[in-house]
């Protein structure tokens, strides 16, 4: 893998260190998951990558050019961001929200949107399979549909790389699967680069080529997905026992599945009665 997007960055806020010399390297067309406990610095790392924040120390580069030299507009034509907090109370239609993703392509002399903007928005909605939602107000959508729309806005931005923060959080299992399959299509069929943070380890297993594990603002492990997300490391990282379903061993996936052991003992009806 040759690095396309990455660098080493630190970030401090209010005298507190949130990221310390965190190194990230993403190859072109690669899919990278960032994992770690709450407060480990995942979101901050994504926000630095998405150029929402500027690092306190260090710098990021895209294609060998530092962010500062590229400028916000050119960066936004290469990287699109889908933050975790996606405003729900937006008084706009689905199409309007997707069109907002065209910002870095808008030309100063055109008053409204151009043909190519509407085309890009329509294509993006088609990719997420929600063309029929175009005229609906955002406020009427379910959480899963809304997540899809923000991904569509990122697609309309026509960038090579998508940066997603917790793309499946708050979604029911059916919608989680829909989003996961959509993201897999984007990376495998369209060759887009994907960087995402998630607590959903199974999403990382299903999508990521490589994983970066963060703890207390430092990178504690980085490497191919199956090497990083193995049981001992997960248990050390999260401080909780895990069960692994290896592929083939009665599992429903070609990839392994990890399940956290929530209460530490099997609670089945019989056990409960006997106590």
């Amino acid at each position: 893998m040759t690095e396309w997007l990455g660098g080493t960055v630190s970030f401090e806020a209010g005298g507190r260190s949130i990221l310390t010399d965190a190194e990230i390297a993403v190859g072109r067309g690669e899919s990278v998951a960032i994992v770690g406990i709450n407060g480990a610095g995942k979101t901050t790392l994504l926000r630095l990558l998405a150029n929402v924040l500027a690092p306190s120390r260090g710098a990021l580069a895209l294609g060998g050019v530092p962010y500062a030299d590229l400028g916000a507009r050119r960066l936004a034509r290469a990287l699109a961001y889908v933050p975790q907090i996606r405003p729900a109370r937006v008084p706009l239609s689905v199409r309007d929200v997707v069109l907002l993703g065209r910002y870095p392509h808008n030309r100063i002399w055109s008053v409204g949107y151009e043909r190519r903007d509407f085309d890009a928005a329509a294509r993006a909605l088609e990719v997420i399979g929600s063309s029929e939602l175009a005229d609906r107000p955002m406020s009427e959508l379910s959480g899963g549909e809304r997540q899809g729309v923000y991904i569509a806005a990122a697609l309309a931005q026509e960038t090579e790389c998508l940066i997603l923060d917790e793309p499946t959080t708050y979604l029911d299992p059916g919608h989680q699967r829909q989003i996961a399959r959509l993201l897999r299509k984007l990376t495998q069929e369209e060759g887009r680069t994907l960087v995402f943070a998630s607590h959903d380890l199974n999403l990382a297993y299903a999508l990521a080529d490589r994983v970066i594990a963060l703890a207390a603002g430092r990178v504690v492990a980085t490497g191919p997905t199956l090497e990083v997300l193995e049981r001992e490391r997960l248990e050390a990282l999260y401080g909780a026992p895990f069960h692994m379903l290896e592929p083939g061993a009665g599992a429903f996936s070609a990839r392994p599945v990890a399940a956290v052991d929530l209460v530490g003992e099997a609670l089945v009806a019989g056990d409960r009665d006997s106590r």
């Binding site: 998405a50 929402v52 961001y81 405003p87 008084p91 309007d96 870095p104």
Partner: protein
Amino acid sequence: MKRAFLVCAAALWVAILLAAPFIGAHEVGLADLVAGDDLAARIVWQLRLPRLLLALLAGGALAVCGAAFQTLFGNPLAEPYTLGVAGGAALGAVLAQQFARAAGLGGVAIVPLASFAGALAASAVIVFVARRRSTATLLLAGVAVALTSSAMILFVQYLADFSRTFRMVRWMMGGLAVVGYDEVLWAAPWVALGAAALFVLRRDLDQLATGEELAASRGVDLARLRLWVVAIVSLMVGALVAVTGPIGFVGLIVPHWVRRGVGYAHAWVLPGAFLTGGAFLALCDLLARRVLAPADLPVGVLTAIVGGPFFLWLLLRDEFR
């Protein structure tokens, strides 16, 4: 729908521009003008037309400023008047009127300058609060700025002599009583410049609808956007308050009407607000001149009577979300 609203607003604007000069306590018709009636000509050209033009300019500018502030602060109740920017401008103007002459600075355009400085100072407080606190605190900060300004204005008035106090009180009510074109010609360039500058920022304002994080990731420079909008609004409000005094609630009400008609894209909202705001204030002024005719009720009193309940309604509807 969008286009129809804008066309209607433009038609209304033009209709008012053509008809309003012939409406008033003294009957003047087009025929009188054509016949070369000296009194009719003076009434139309020296009294009614400048006053009407000032109403169209001020109303349009206030509505455009309100639309920009509501978007910038993500708050439907934000506008230069409720956030105390108009109050700050008024305080600046009053201080200049009272003390600049004493200091021998009367000749310079010190009143508008002071008014602009006051608006900018009030805006600075609001921006400082908006960056670190909730929307409720933002409005309360606006109230605090407005109350402090008006208390200081009262203090200055207390020091002033009787006739000047009377003029200040009248001016604080917000009125359009002008004779001739000096005030119009003074305000027009600032309004045009400010409205054009806000229009240039239309796409950046649009981006705020889905939150600052997404906007920043797409390349919107939020700090610069805030600075520009606040500076532009302060400039426009400062320039207008120096002439008309603070006129409230036009900037609050009109953008909400306009968004109902044209949606949320500022390429439509800003022109729509300019036309509708101007038409609204001109109609209010016609009404204000009628209510106590032949006496002349300051239009700011009327807009406040309409606007206060509207503000309350918005407040209850949104419950400080």
